[in-house]
């Protein structure tokens, strides 16, 4: 088997998932379209993890990742019926960023909360712009791949659910 075939076995492939290849619900977040795409997603996720880790600990953080990965991919199956293929960890990265911001919120003072709120607004504007198709210039995806903004929205929703389930204080 050629190494290049591996991403095709791991990516989100709507028909393959519906045919029973459910591992793709988790593994689609691990494969990317390019090295730059992977590095930016993983760097964002790593920065968010470093913020959330002191509050959540490894166990709860890993649990959050394991639970939300299929939620985001499953949400794409329902919310984006035209999406046939998907790769990328950005849905997970958004989930981790929101989770990290929420863990920080209780400890933060007025100024820090203002900064966190502004970051939240910036994230919402970014997702909104992606939904409207304004992605030129800031997307690191190949030309024939569009930004699946639904994954980012699902990342925010998954973070809210995780906070509820894990009873993050």
């Amino acid at each position: 088997m050629r190494f290049g075939v591996v991403p095709e076995l791991l990516e989100f492939d709507r028909h393959a998932i519906l045919a029973g290849e459910i591992w793709r619900l988790w593994t689609c977040h691990l494969v990317h379209y390019s090295t730059r795409h992977a590095l930016i997603d993983l760097a964002t996720a790593a920065a968010a993890c470093s913020v959330a880790l002191p509050v959540l600990g490894w166990r709860r953080l890993c649990l959050a990742v394991a639970l939300t990965a299929p939620l985001i991919a499953g949400g794409l199956l329902l919310l984006a019926p035209d999406l046939i293929y998907y790769r990328g960890a950005s849905g997970m990265a958004v989930m981790l960023v929101v989770l990290a911001a929420c863990t920080l919120w209780r400890q933060a003072g007025i100024r820090a909360r203002t900064a966190l709120a502004l970051l939240g607004v910036a994230l919402a504007v970014k997702i909104g712009a992606e939904a409207l198709g304004y992605t030129t210039g800031w997307s690191d995806l190949p030309a024939d791949v569009h930004v699946a903004w639904q994954a980012h929205l699902l990342g925010v929703s998954s973070a809210a659910l995780t906070i509820k389930i894990l009873a993050v204080r």
Partner: protein, 276 residues
């Protein structure tokens, strides 16, 4: 009495030689011509208006044999379907091909032209159609052993007939909207063998089927090569425009803005924890 004997011998000889005379001396030809189908009664070369061909992956592809010249021309429909399924299966793996619909020959009208092709494409919801034309010629010859057919038993045991079946299958891929030929690939084969007088027609029929099978065997890799070449060619050709269908291939991309937001978040976290 002698007269009757002579008459009997002449009658038997005439009868036997008559049997030999019934055999088809030349062979047969099966043709399904692409030009006859798409450009019927054309007296001058078709003119194409210069236009940009828009391909929108995943492309929906139809595949069909062009209608034969006569009602019983060419392969039986079931055999055509099997060949088309083989071509379809070998191309189903490509991401940029959305679906491949096999179009039965009955839907294509002889000399239907692009009007018929457009109707069929609409009916099967396809954008690109691969038309398989074919040309098969069967030659029959007798060899020196055929003289033993006179023994009658020889007609059943002696291989005094030889057949030679030459086949060409050609796949031409058309963009239905622009009527443009995107690329084409041929496959050829030659099946030769010997048969008894009694078993010739059956052997020829089997050889005809085998001829198509072998030609398609050769066609598939050639079509694959042409497809790869076409993909490369259109990258730098202004006459072709490739636009993905909305939302078919997505990526979860954070981009530099999101990375900056995450770094700012880490900065806020650092400041908060330092104060605490």
């Amino acid at each position: 009495m002698r007269f009757l004997k002579t008459l009997l011998i002449i009658a038997v000889a005439a009868g036997l030689s008559g049997c030999v005379g019934w055999r088809s001396p030349d062979g047969a030809k099966q043709t399904g011509s692409l030009v006859d189908y798409l450009y019927p009664n054309a007296k001058e070369a078709p003119t194409l208006a210069p236009s940009v061909v828009k391909l929108r992956p995943p492309v929906k592809v139809g595949i069909a044999f062009v209608p034969g010249a006569n009602w019983n021309n060419g392969l039986p429909e079931a055999a055509k379907m099997k060949l088309l399924e083989r071509v379809r299966d070998s191309f189903a793996k490509h991401q940029y091909i959305g679906k491949i619909e096999i179009i039965p020959s009955q839907y294509l009208q002889a000399k239907g032209g692009f009007t018929n092709l457009e109707q069929v494409a609409r009916m099967f919801d396809v954008e690109v159609v691969t038309l398989l034309s074919y040309d098969q010629v069967q030659f029959n010859d007798t060899n020196a052993l055929a003289v033993l057919y006179w023994t009658i038993i020889g007609a059943y045991v002696i291989h005094g007939d030889q057949y030679d079946v030459q086949t060409m299958v050609d796949a031409a891929v058309f963009d239905v909207q622009s009527h443009k030929l995107l690329f084409r690939a041929p496959g050829t084969s030659r099946v030769k063998g010997g048969a008894t007088w009694a078993g010739l027609s059956e052997k020829q029929r089997l050889a005809a089927g085998e001829g198509y099978e072998r030609a398609v065997d050769q066609l598939i890799p050639q079509l694959q090569t042409e497809l790869d070449g076409f993909r490369e060619r259109i990258k730098n050709n202004a006459n072709y425009q490739v636009e993905n269908k909305a939302g078919y291939k997505g990526g979860g991309a954070m981009g530099w803005i999101s990375l900056a937001l995450a770094v700012l978040l880490a900065g806020v976290a650092y400041a908060v924890r330092r104060r605490a």
